[in-house]
Amino acid sequence: GCGGGGGDDASAGGTSPGEGKAECEGLTSFGDLSGKSVSVYTSIIAPEDKAQKESYKLFEDCTGASIKYEGSSEFEAQLNVRVQGGNAPDIAYIPQPGLLKTLVQDTGQVVEAPSGVGENVDKFWGEDWKAYGTVDDKFYAAPLGANVKSFVWYSPKMFKENGWKVPTTWDDMMTLSEDMAAKGIKPWCAGIESGDATGWVTTDWLEDAMLREVGPDVYDQWVNHEIPFDDPQVESALQLVGSILKDDKMVNGGIGDVKSIATTAFQEAGLPILKGECGLHRQASFYAAQWPEGTKVTEDGDVFAFYLPTTSEEFGQPVLGGGEFVAAFADRPEVQAFQTYLSTDTWANEKAKATPGGGWVSANKGLDIANLKSPIDKLSAETFQDPDAVFRFDGSDQMPGAVGADSFWKQMTAWITGQDDATTLGNIEKSWPSS
């Protein structure tokens, strides 16, 4: 289907170059944008940027505008510099709601989303998603891509050989782990080294545990600092994580002991699964890209993922995830048109089609799962669209930078290398900015 389209407010008037073409239906309302260009700044770089650019083709063809895409590995810091330096891009894909908030509040240069975008978001996303793009009750940014973080990677082949089953409850999972340990395999492998972002993997662990142990509501309070960071409920969640990550029997399959988690690059952390030295690896859907070429990522192949089970039925099926939000720093018609386009189901499906190798999903309900090519993406999309799923965005990405991009990572890293639970949480609490 193709619904949506943009509201009238996004039209530049004139006759769209796409007028009359079938595939441009729904885009013609943007008017004639020939010769206009929109600059887009993102953290999505090669090789994944290729599919991005591909997915803009339709827009460019139909409106005549051109999209200038720039991806950078230094995106977060650079965006801030550019915005403060007065050289902001037209549009930026911001992966952290927390950063969006800072930009809105500190620089005042983010412009509100046009009404068409809001309508689209209301239509294709849940309320929670809209909330992440809203600051001080104003809606700024629509979600773009998304990923599921509550995944555990495993080797279907290895499971079959050993007669193991994919666990559906936390307890099952722990029993399975002990089984594995009994067989002489360290069940879990993990790695949190990520250069200057070292530690983010553990924050995901804690967030997943929070969702499962104390539920989404407390999770939200925690994220918004309505309860202190070192609340006893958080401590209990951390203990749950510790029962896996800080137990020498459980980790670190194929790599070393607990401490080796701290120095193992998250990219290589799951690889021991291929060698049969490790059974389980909790990591987001995008880890699919890490498997060496030739690895079959299917339900009965070399590796695949299952949903990280919950500890109780109480809070439904919490799903931790991440994604980007489309923030605009200009309100020129072409910018608004593009912004609107990105919030449509049209784009979501275009993007899905442009990504034949897989590795991209959206929480856009208009996304036709059939358009997704890879089994893991399908699994992700199904997870998002599962009516039972309770989605929560990555907590550290929503916290202020001082916590979410600094002390949370650092302290969790220190925690891995031996710091106790209370100190860890206490230190993070202390670092929460006062203003």
């Binding site: 770089i45 090789p47 330096g85 250069g195 890209a289 070429e293």
Partner: protein
């Protein structure tokens, strides 16, 4: 006078053996003793092994790179050019374009600061004016300012220049964004360059400058005709460093090219090679060597300016 005396060459003199081929090092043993060579060798090996590992890795298939050490390549060799192929071809922008950008960025960013710095250094070293020591110290101390500190203020200036100057960065930048990059690199290089040049200049015997002044040369001529030739080694050394700093710079290009992909240097491409999540080491290692080629050539070419005894024969004492 009729003192045109024929040379009395003793009869037994054997015919001259012909001119020696090269400067002989025999009389200049230096420190080239056995222990010395051994120490040098150890340092050289220690310094090279890490890079060598990278070189080997750049020829290994992705799976191997990620799962076992590069030295295993010798016991069970499996080599491939795929990494280089993907580095050279694997992007929608031509690698050559990035090379061109890097060159266009680097050349003025080396020439401009060197010229300005040698001039300023000359003034600080050999011209007499009030407050010259103070100014020199101030300039030299500015080396400490990290680029990050300057990014936002400078960018603001470029985007909204005072006095109605044309906008240098941003969408309507003149020169498409190169100018700000050149300017910024020059600014960042100046303190160190002035400091280095000043110190090398002070080493030149004052008598040479005096004699040029008596010969009627003004500061400009002394600078161009005496200082520059005698400073070649220093200029070459700094030139090489500035070249490779600019060549390998990512930050300045990212900030001041201001989102203009048209002018992105090779490093931007290289950073992108790291992959979305920094996982593509096999590509990175190949990329590192692709971008290493040019600085290496510059270094090798620059070496011939590191000459010995430039001042020999000039003064006695």
């Amino acid at each position: 006078m009729t003192t045109s005396t024929p040379t009395i060459a003793p009869a037994q003199i054997e015919p001259p053996t012909g001119p020696p081929k090269s400067a002989a090092a025999a009389a200049h043993g230096g420190l080239t003793s056995r222990i010395g060579s051994a120490v040098a060798l150890v340092i050289a090996v220690l310094w090279t092994i890490p890079t060598f590992g990278l070189l080997v890795s750049s020829f290994r298939p992705e799976g191997e790179v990620k799962t076992n050490g590069w030295w295993n390549a010798f016991t069970n060799p499996s080599f491939t050019f795929d990494n280089y192929k993907s580095v050279i071809t694997g992007s929608d922008v031509d690698l050559a374009t990035y090379f061109v950008n890097s060159f266009v960025i680097t050349i003025p960013s080396v020439l401009i600061p060197i010229s300005l710095a040698t001039l300023a250094a000359y003034a600080f070293a050999w011209m007499d004016f009030k407050g010259r020591h103070l100014l020199f110290v101030a300039v030299f101390a500015l080396q400490i300012v990290p680029i990050q500190v300057t990014m936002i203020p400078l960018l603001k200036l470029y985007v909204n220049p005072p006095f109605g100057l044309p906008q240098l960065a941003g969408a309507n930048a003149v020169g498409g964004g190169f100018w700000t990059v050149w300017l910024s690199h020059s600014i960042f290089a100046l303190p160190l360059a002035i400091y280095l040049m000043h110190n090398f200049m002070r080493e030149i015997p004052g008598e040479l400058i005096e004699s040029a002044r008596v010969d009627g040369a003004g500061h400009v001529q002394i600078f161009t005709r005496i200082m520059l030739p005698l400073l070649t080694p220093a200029i070459a050394a700094f030139g090489i460093f500035q070249f490779l700093w600019v060549w390998n710079d990512l930050l300045v290009a990212l900030v001041f090219a201001g989102g203009n992909l048209d002018v992105s240097p090779l490093t931007v491409r290289l950073a992108a090679l790291a992959g979305q999540r920094g996982e593509d080491w096999h590509l990175l290692s190949a990329g590192a060597f692709v971008s290493l080629v040019v600085p290496l050539i510059v270094f090798l070419a620059g070496q011939r300016y590191f000459v010995r005894g430039l001042l020999a024969g000039s003064v006695k004492g």
